[in-house]
């Protein structure tokens, strides 16, 4: 072979040897350990730190919330429905963001250095599962939230940890006054609220058949000054807690019932623009919850006046202030006229 060819072959051999050596030094030693891949990668990937910690992790500090939740409709394993803490609050752990994709075994953990999110826009949150949407299976509880609550936050009424129970009645404990004793303490009431508690044109609202819990709450608010009224404040101030319970028991025992809440009535209520009202006050003015007042038996003027007081903020109530502010005069007139149509029978 000529000299140049020999040199060429030699050059190729040197080049080849360098490549072999490079490969020997550069290939990871764990490659081919389990197959055509870097064996150590398995361990590295598995070492990543989990972010979602599970309900048991939350329970160690928040056992009250967890126990409330565990008995609720949001924890119903038999029906296959379990809304765990981290579904709404987000993961209780994080990974070190600098280690992104580099198999991070470090990161922050709640409560040490990671604050959990408390959802503020609960309507947006709850709608993720409960807004009526094409595609949601029928067994899923779903509503048209706009019609159900307007722009109100869901947690105004629902306890998010146990949404089947309502904040209103939860807040008001069970009260039992003596209606007979109460009958002897109402002499001053009748001038304004009418005999048998039916106002019929007098300045005060109808009290007959009103929810006991609501009456107690209202009288207590007058007594403590939380709610102000030149007429009621001094009267309530003179009452003892026992008096309030007894008087509430007496008025709630009086009859003022409208007919059953029918589908026709609901349709009529919607017609009158009361589709939001019916959720709490019923289509016929009978409240769905003891914490909220019945509207049956109230005059149109009284309802208009009350809504104006809510809108103006003279009467404080988170839900009603927000709702009343959203109504114009025509809305108020129409609503009041509608509910005034249900008088005591």
């Amino acid at each position: 072979m000529p000299k140049h060819a020999v040199r060429l072959v030699l050059l190729l051999v040197i080049f080849g040897a360098l490549a072999v050596a490079a490969r020997y030094f550069l290939v990871d030693k764990s490659y081919y350990k389990y197959g055509y891949y870097r064996g150590d990668a398995v361990m590295e990937i598995a070492q990543d730190k989990p972010r979602y910690q599970g309900t048991a992790y939350c329970e160690s500090c928040h056992s009250d919330k967890v126990s409330e939740w565990s008995k609720s409709v949001h924890n119903n394993p038999d029906a296959g429905k379990v809304v765990k803490c981290e579904v709404c609050h987000g993961p209780a752990g994080s990974r070190d963001p600098q280690q992104h994709y580099m198999h991070a075994a470090t990161g922050r953990v709640h409560p040490d250095d990671l604050k959990m999110a408390i959802p503020t826009d609960t309507q947006a949150l709850c709608k993720l599962c409960h807004e009526q949407t094409a595609g949601r299976p029928s067994q899923q509880r779903q509503i048209v939230v706009k019609d159900h609550a307007g722009a109100l936050q869901c947690t105004l009424c629902h306890n998010p940890h146990s949404p089947g129970t309502f904040v209103g009645s939860l807040a008001a404990p069970e009260h039992r006054g003596d209606a007979e004793a109460g009958k002897g303490k109402i002499a001053t009431c009748l001038d304004c609220h009418g005999a048998n508690g039916i106002s019929a044109g007098l300045p005060g609202p109808t009290l007959a058949g009103q929810n006991q819990t609501y009456l107690i709450a209202t009288l207590t608010e007058y007594k403590t000054g939380k709610r102000n009224d030149p007429m009621m404040a001094p009267i309530a101030a003179a009452m003892s807690d026992a008096d309030i319970k007894d008087i509430a028991a007496y008025f709630s025992s009086l009859k003022c019932k409208s007919a059953a809440n029918t589908a026709e009535q609901t349709a009529a209520a919607h017609e009158a623009g009361a589709s939001v009202c019916v959720n709490c006050h019923g289509a016929n003015g009978s409240s769905a919850d003891r914490g909220w007042p019945n509207l049956v038996g109230q005059s149109k003027d009284y309802i208009v006046g009350t809504l104006k007081a809510y809108a103006g903020g003279q009467r404080p109530n988170t839900a009603m202030n927000a709702l009343a502010k959203g109504m114009n005069d025509a809305d108020v007139e129409k609503l009041a006229a509608y509910y005034a149509g249900y008088s005591c029978k």
Binding site: A19, Y32, G35, D48, P50, R136
Partner: protein, 285 residues
């Protein structure tokens, strides 16, 4: 699914894989000798692999030879709340936008008088507008005024196929199937050619531009090897996602497979997926 048939199938699969291995070594031998001439690279240490060094990686309290993971999706239960999608993004540090998903949810809606379903996912511009952010996901109530004949949601994720096309095409062995059945990516070895992204018939893979590597769902390998459930299963409020070990006859997935008639996506691809679906329609792709 018929257990006996499954066993048979696996035996065949095992045979195939050993045959494949032999072919692989043969191929590497031939190509290797070609390579010797060309660049002088050495034969891959195929013999080394055959000697079978430690068969189990050193994971605390976990033996990968004892597990056979599988995933079930009950589309009749999914409510499309997309908690799984957000949980996955958080758990796995996936880019918070509408173009990178390890898991996603599709919605199929057939309107009265229409022949084909309308399909969208949380990444659809209408749904992104409804959520108000590319980092949060929400199905817009876009069919509220329409007459809907049939509608359902279908969660999607990596099928961890028995014959993964993505692993087949990876030129460097950066993506591989673990002994317990999960296809993972070695992000420190991936060259970022995106061949695997092209090869996946299910669109389960995506490219992380920031890191220059491909990425995909791993069924939260870092969780399941610690006895936890994948993040999407952990947060699913209605039990539409089922996960477990097929070696354990009492596991949720074994029960799911025993009690349902399941199907897989695109079986004609030959990939043999390991995500089993209940309650999906002919239109689901």
């Amino acid at each position: 699914m018929d257990e006996l048939k499954m066993n048979e199938k696996e035996q065949i699969e095992t045979c195939q894989s050993s045959r494949r291995a032999v072919l692989g070594y043969l191929g590497s031998a031939i190509a290797g000798s070609v390579a010797m001439i060309a660049t002088g690279a050495m034969l891959p240490k195929a013999a080394h692999a055959a000697e079978a060094a430690p068969p189990v990686p050193a994971l605390p309290g976990y033996d990968w030879s004892k597990h056979r993971w599988a995933f079930g999706v009950d589309a009749t239960k999914c409510i499309g709340c997309l908690r799984c999608v957000e949980a996955c993004k958080a758990e796995n540090e996936v880019a918070g936008d509408a173009h990178h998903f390890r898991t996603w949810v599709e919605r199929y809606v057939t309107l009265e008088g229409e022949e084909h379903a309308r399909i969208d996912s949380q990444a659809d511009p209408v749904n992104i507008a409804a959520s108000g952010s590319e980092k949060e996901y929400r199905f817009a109530n876009r069919y509220a005024g329409e007459k809907v004949e049939k509608a359902f949601f279908v969660p999607k994720l990596c099928n961890q196929c028995t014959h993964p096309a993505c692993v087949q095409v990876c030129p460097v062995g950066a993506t591989f199937k673990t002994a317990d059945g999960i296809v993972v990516i070695d992000h420190t070895y991936c060259i970022g050619c995106e061949y695997c992204v092209q090869a996946c018939p299910y669109g389960a893979r995506f490219f992380n531009e920031e890191q220059g590597v491909s990425d995909k769902c791993t069924w939260c390998y870092h969780r399941i090897t610690k006895g936890l459930q994948p993040a999407c299963v952990e947060v699913c409020p209605v039990g539409a996602r089922v996960f477990g070990d097929r070696n354990d006859k009492q596991s949720p997935i074994s029960q799911f497979l025993a009690n349902n008639r399941v199907q897989v996506l695109k079986p004609e691809s030959g990939n043999a997926p390991n995500v089993f679906y209940v309650g999906i329609d002919k239109e689901v792709i």
